[in-house]
């Protein structure tokens, strides 16, 4: 029996996958996509869904290939990731479009217009177009869920990978949706050998490319891939406007709500594109009868650039729609009214006050804070390549100089260490990378560092989890095959390896100096320091942070070292030369600040367990 639930977009997608009989789900966590596999894993355990193989992979490329093989074996499978994860998985994706699929295969790539939690605002729909695979662009969590069975069917019918591209406002929206009972798929996995297809040599690839082009051409003839949403209302109204709107994804929902609220819904024809690539030929025919077509989509002009039949298109290319940033509803409201009702506007749309926004910071008690403080203390003139994760926030402590993409900290450290010199002495290069990122893309560059005898310090911030995205496990903590980072580093050929506790600031400083002697003075090669610090927000970790009660003493001089350079959110500055205030509600009691203050302005007054933390 169907049941109504309020679900996060990502949860709705997870339910949709299981309801549609998805048997293999693979992913690497990344905002805004992480909760999809989180939810599948939770449901698998709770509902005893033994038929599903679901697991976090080491990176997106591996996840993609695991799920694709399941499709080759005839069962429905899915891979999910954030948009930059698709860059990592792009190699198998390009090739899979040629080989095609057997069991329904859905690629879910979640884009992040804004960006809120990403390095780029890139549009995965262009990646779909590049690979020549169809892509669905859902406009709500409910629609994302409803598209999934359709995506599987399409994939099976044409033997092609199908992409579902939600954005942050779909993934992290909540909506009431209907859920159905899960059923176990009847298909029995079997791999039909066919080397000319699955292991095609270049000669056969040409043939596969021809087949792929035929599939895409056939799809473009479909007319179920867009909807004329207000056909009835507009036709009832009599005179049809010569201006229309074409929109997809969440922006279609914003635009619809705005048109309804300003009384234009019955006047302006509104086409929602469900599949932006390949764009329906039928839609292009419909659009030919209009004088002006306004396109709303995120984040790049994928639909806009495909409308080429002489119609006047207004959008990002013509400057009507901003070329970067999230296309928020207030922006759409302004564009629509400027275009359709200039006489009514400028209506007063309130704008946000210019207020200093609180920036993201490392959590109070986070073990990374002491490391970043120590790096700058030991090597004030160093160069600090870093990586993707919570620890990117080490930027606030002045110990992060570059953040490029997963694993780049190590390769960039090689590059920097080979070229940077100061008065003939090599510049100290200190790279930081998290445990999950190290597994994801840090191992090949570490081997490279050893092979090229690059001299730098690599600090692996090991909080035993993928913290930023909600504490997904890493290969280090999946029982029973725990993989040791220290052993891996050793196997990469590194000779200098030290492990320290994140809360022992003086020991960290000592070890960094030893590592500096090894890498910068003796020029022996890369020195690796593993800093162990259980994540303070991960309640599943047994080993917890110290819980001390801290007090500000009368020796505090108001120098702001603890509140600004050490940047603990629990230490609130009242201005220079005024004593700092400790916010007890925020303080985690890690006690590192005691050692940061050079004047004895902070002291331990007991154990903090009674705080009920």
């Amino acid at each position: 029996m169907a049941e109504r639930k309020v679900l996060l977009g990502n949860e709705a997608i997870a339910y949709g996958l299981i309801e549609a009989g998805c048997s293999v789900a693979a992913s690497y966590p990344g905002t805004p996509a992480s909760e999809i596999l989180d939810t599948i894993l939770k449901l698998k355990t709770r509902e005893h869904l033994e038929h599903i193989h679901a697991a976090w992979s080491i990176n997106e490329k591996v996840a993609f290939e695991i799920a694709l093989a399941a499709s080759y074996a005839g069962v429905r499978s899915a891979v999910m990731m954030k948009q930059v994860g698709l860059n990592v998985a792009s190699d198998p994706m390009m090739s899979s479009a040629y080989t095609g699929t057997k069991g329904g295969f859905v690629i879910i790539s979640a884009d992040d217009p804004g960006p809120h939690s990403s390095q780029t605002e890139q549009d995965s729909r262009f990646f779909a177009m590049f690979a020549k695979i169809p892509v669905f662009d859902p406009s709500s969590p409910k629609e994302a869920k409803e598209i999934i069975p359709r995506a599987f069917e399409l994939s099976e019918q044409l033997e092609i990978p199908v992409m579902l591209r939600p954005t942050t406002r779909i993934c992290h929206a909540r909506q009431d949706v209907t859920v159905k009972p899960f059923k176990i798929p009847e298909v029995k996995p079997s791999f039909e050998k066919n080397p000319p297809r699955w292991a095609a040599t270049p000669k056969f690839r040409l043939h596969l490319h021809r087949l792929l082009n035929n599939k895409i051409r056939a799809l473009a003839k479909e007319n179920q891939t867009f909807r004329f949403l207000n056909r009835d209302e507009v036709l009832d109204n009599g005179k049809v406007s010569k201006r229309c709107i074409v929109s997809s994804g969440i922006t279609a929902s914003y635009a619809r709500e705005i048109l309804e609220s300003i009384g234009l819904w019955h006047r302006i024809p509104f086409f929602q594109v469900i599949m932006p690539y390949p764009l329906s030929k039928k839609l292009l025919e419909e659009l030919a009868s209009f004088d002006e077509v306004m396109v709303f989509e995120e984040t790049y002009p994928v639909i806009e650039l495909q409308i080429r039949n002489g119609v006047k298109v207004l959008g990002r290319e013509t400057g009507h729609v901003p070329q970067e940033g999230e296309l928020l509803p207030e922006k759409i409201e302004k564009i629509i009214t400027d275009w359709l009702q200039p006489e009514v506007y400028p209506k007063n749309i309130p704008t946000p006050q210019e207020v200093p926004q609180r920036r993201p910071t490392l959590c109070p008690g986070c073990g990374h804070r002491s490391v970043f403080f120590a790096i700058r203390k030991c090597f004030p003139k160093g160069v600090y390549p870093s990586d993707i994760g919570c620890y990117t926030l080490g930027i606030n402590l002045g110990s992060v100089d570059t953040v490029l993409c997963m694993g780049a900290s190590i390769s960039q450290a090689i590059g920097f260490s080979k070229v940077l010199k100061e008065e003939d002495l090599p510049t100290p290069v200190i790279a930081t990378i998290g445990d999950s990122t190290f597994f994801h893309a840090g191992i090949p560059p570490l081997i490279e560092a050893v092979a090229q005898k690059a001299c730098f310090i690599l600090i692996i911030l090991d909080n035993k989890t993928t913290a930023m995205t909600g504490h997904q496990p890493t290969p280090e903590n999946i029982a029973p095959f725990k993989i040791s980072i220290k052993e891996l580093v050793k196997a990469c050929g590194v000779s200098f390896i030290e492990t320290v506790n994140a809360y022992d600031l003086s020991r960290i400083i000592e070890v960094l100096k030893e590592a500096g002697y090894y890498a910068f003075d003796k020029r022996e090669g890369v020195a690796v320091v593993i800093v162990e610090s259980p994540c303070v927000t991960d309640r599943r970790q047994k080993e917890r942070t110290p819980r001390l009660r801290i007090r500000v003493t009368d020796k505090c001089r108001g120098c702001q070292l603890c509140s600004q350079r050490f940047e603990c959110p629990a230490l609130v500055s009242q201005g220079r030369k005024r004593p700092v205030i400790l916010d007890e509600a925020l303080c985690a009691g890690c006690g590192v600040c005691i050692h940061v203050c050079p004047f004895g302005g902070l002291e331990i007054i007991g154990n903090g367990e009674e705080k009920g933390l």
Partner: protein, 177 residues
């Protein structure tokens, strides 16, 4: 029946948790709901905001299609910290209500004199219950008991009864004055 609510605070204060609670109450009352949350990097101590839009699915004219609230349209702003009001003030409609928790650091509250703002110290009752992290739920209990929400305190308590956290019911009750 429709209501647009903004909940703001800092990462870690439980904005997302409150959002879930409120959307569940909507379901209980057979209403439809859209909400939008902050996840990922922005959650790490920065400003966190949620939007909640409640409507009657049986109504023909008062439907929502999307999760974001446009500036000048929110009926209610619930803020878990005084500093989390200014970035979202423009979302409030004329005559909209602000309900705000007092700061945990004395003397750190901006001075608002507007009539439509109600300050409530949710920290003290939460500490009395032995968990300062419950201040968010206490504040929600306060808002519901004063009739500012589309649902009653009893509706929220019914949701809390179905959860695995036994402290919730007490915390909601601690907001009643």
């Amino acid at each position: 029946m429709k209501q647009q609510i903004v909940i703001s605070g800092f990462g870690g204060q439980g904005v997302v948790f409150l959002t879930k609670l409120v959307t569940e109450a909507a379901l209980l009352k057979n209403l439809s709901v859209f909400a939008s949350e902050t996840h990922g990097m922005a959650q790490r101590g920065g400003n966190v905001v949620s939007y909640i839009k409640i409507y009657d699915p049986l109504s023909n004219t008062h439907k929502f299609w999307s999760p974001l609230i446009r500036p000048g349209n929110a009926d209610l702003l619930i803020s878990l910290h005084p500093e989390a009001i200014p970035p979202y003030l423009h979302l409030l409609k004329e005559g909209g209500i602000i309900i705000c928790n007092e700061s945990t650091v004395k003397g750190n509250s901006p001075n608002y004199t507007k009539e439509n703002i109600i300050f409530f110290n949710a920290n003290t009752p939460a500490l009395r219950l032995g968990n300062h992290r419950m201040a968010n739920v206490v504040l929600l209990g306060f808002a519901a008991s004063r009739g500012y929400l589309f649902c009653s305190l009893e509706d929220l308590i019914s949701v809390a009864k179905g959860s695995e956290n036994p402290g919730l019911i007490e915390a909601l009750g601690a907001g009643v004055q």
